[in-house]
């Protein structure tokens, strides 16, 4: 399947924005923008929830006393 950058702009855009970008047409009012951002966050959360994580797995940050 031929996938180019322009076709996948939302998925592979040039920065930290990449995972936050939508595949839906860009909304324009502030309320619509916020709702779209919430929807993206919800969608990302669903993708994380679909992954299984062993109970023994600790998060990847460290605390040093």
């Amino acid at each position: 399947m031929k996938i180019t950058r322009r076709k996948l702009a939302a998925a592979v855009a040039a920065s930290v924005t990449a995972p936050l970008l939508a595949q839906a047409p860009a909304p324009r009012t502030p309320d619509q923008e916020l709702q779209a951002a919430r929807d993206r966050m919800k969608s990302n959360g669903d993708k994380l929830a679909a992954q299984s994580v062993p109970m023994s797995t600790e998060p990847a940050f460290q605390f040093r006393a």
Binding site: I3, T4, S15, V16, R28
Partner: protein, 475 residues
């Protein structure tokens, strides 16, 4: 004294030889670079703050040192620029964002102090995407200084978020620059601008005095003309810093003399990246570049990336951490002063992120790190492109919907930028040709603290090619 245009594109060792042989003085060099930065920086919206008087004063000190043979290493007397998220005492540090336009710190970032101690000369602060783009952004104009224009074509974007750092090096306004990366902010602008960029291992370079966006993801690194220059700069800025809780407590010594022969280095790659994922007009350049690496003796073997939802993982971690960093900005409404509507909404939404999403992402991140350890038991580094093709048009909407849904499973090394940042891996970007008139680049990502190996491959590639020597037209 008239200064040759070649000086503006000279490497650090080349300038070091001229300075130590007194063929040019540090003051002459600094005057030439500061004049050029002030004249051409605005042409690309690359300059956030000129520091000419301070640079000249520093150059006068350095010149005396050099004349007395008080030599402090290869960076002494050489001008550089710093992304405007690094504090420089008593001068504005805007983070590229209107709400912080008047912000002034009374101390220097650690990297600025470290470079100062070896005689480097800071000539200006360089433009960036507002708040390093943490909330997401739709347009290149998401910056206090306007869209940063690409020196290769001013109708195109320089990339973000270390936009000014890459554009300034490409246009010969500084010899090197310090940028930052949370996820892609060195890799992308270096690729788009045709310069060499090094994202160091997480924790290797202190972030004290740098804007925090994501404590567990942020890194500082050099953008320069060559891999060797990146190694020399990294040596100067790396090291333990008790003021950065993320500091790994490790130093870095650039040691090309001890580098492994490249024919012993095994490189994992996915051919589909270069034959299908790359833009059609970039594929010939990538094919030629792969041939150069093979001719150099590198062992290229097909590899797969560990399969994780890197984008959502990075998104959750970034959202949680940036929302905490910028909580006051968001809750006070100051966030509405930002330039980009997507950025504003992204930050507002981020503050609502459920804690369980952050924790799950951080636990998946641990698993991904473990999987990358397995990958690097098989290969020494991973190879793909920096970007699929040349720079995007400056008015291109980064959230333009794709005409077709993305494939259910990632192909090739898709996701390597968030993956590499999640795992804290170093990456090196090497210009490798052109798509039309715009530069394209390779990206090498290695195991933590494998910078010397990455740089050895970079040197080998750049000794066989001259893409890193090419200059944009008309600069």
């Amino acid at each position: 004294m008239a200064v040759s245009e070649d000086l503006f594109f000279a490497t650090i060792p080349e300038l070091n030889v001229m300075l130590t042989r007194l063929e040019i003085s540090a003051v002459e060099l600094t005057r030439a670079f500061t004049a050029r930065l002030e004249r051409l920086g605005p042409r690309y919206n690359a300059l956030a703050l000129p520091l000419t008087p301070q640079a000249i004063r520093k150059a006068e000190e350095v010149e005396k040192d050099i004349k007395r043979a008080r030599l402090r290493g290869p960076l002494q007397g050489i001008p550089y620029g710093a992304k405007d998220l690094l504090s420089y005492a008593n001068q504005p540090t805007t983070w590229g964002a209107k709400p912080y336009a008047g912000q002034v710190f009374d101390y220097n970032a650690t990297v600025v102090d470290k470079l100062d101690s070896v005689g480097a000369i800071l000539t200006g602060k360089l433009a960036m995407i507002e708040l390093a783009g943490g909330g997401g952004y739709r347009f290149a104009s998401a910056s206090l200084t306007g869209p940063c224009l690409n020196p290769w074509d001013r109708t195109c974007w320089a990339g973000g978020s270390s936009s000014g750092s890459a554009a300034a090096v490409a246009a010969g306004l500084v010899t090197y620059a310090i940028g930052s990366e949370t996820s892609g902010s060195i890799v992308t602008p270096a690729s788009f601008c045709g310069v060499t960029g090094l994202r160091p291992t997480y924790g290797l370079v202190s972030r004290h005095g740098a804007m925090a966006l994501s404590w567990t993801l942020d890194k500082l690194g050099p953008i320069a003309h060559t891999a060797e220059d990146c190694g020399l700069v990294l040596q100067a800025i790396a090291g333990k810093d008790s003021r950065d809780p993320g500091s790994a407590g490790k130093s870095f010594y650039y040691t090309p003399q001890y580098a492994r022969p490249v024919n012993e280095i095994k490189v994992g790659y996915a051919p589909v990246d270069f034959t299908e994922r790359a833009d059609p007009d970039a594929r010939a350049a990538f094919a030629t570049a792969l041939g150069v690496l093979k001719d150099a003796g590198l062992q290229l073997v097909e590899t797969r990336l560990p399969n994780f939802p890197y984008g959502p993982m990075l998104s959750a971690i970034l959202a949680a951490e940036e929302a905490s960093v910028f909580e006051d900005l968001i809750t006070s409404g100051g966030v509405n002063q930002l330039a980009d509507a997507l950025q504003i909404a992204g930050l507002k939404a981020a503050i609502e992120l459920p804690a369980r999403n952050y924790m799950r992402a951080m636990r998946l991140r641990r698993l991904a790190q473990q999987e990358f350890s397995r990958v690097f038991a098989e290969v020494d580094m991973l190879l793909t492109f920096g970007e699929e093709g040349g720079a995007l048009k400056v008015d291109y909407a980064l959230d333009t919907p794709p005409p077709a849904p993305p494939p259910p499973e990632p192909i090739g090394f898709q996701g390597i930028v968030p993956a590499g940042n999640l795992a804290g891996l170093p990456a090196l970007v090497l210009p490798c040709g052109f798509a039309g008139h715009l530069p394209v680049a390779l990206q090498l990502a290695g195991a933590p603290y494998s910078e010397n190996t990455l740089l050895a491959v970079g040197r080998a590639f750049q000794s066989r090619t001259d893409w890193h020597k090419r200059r944009p037209p008309g600069v």
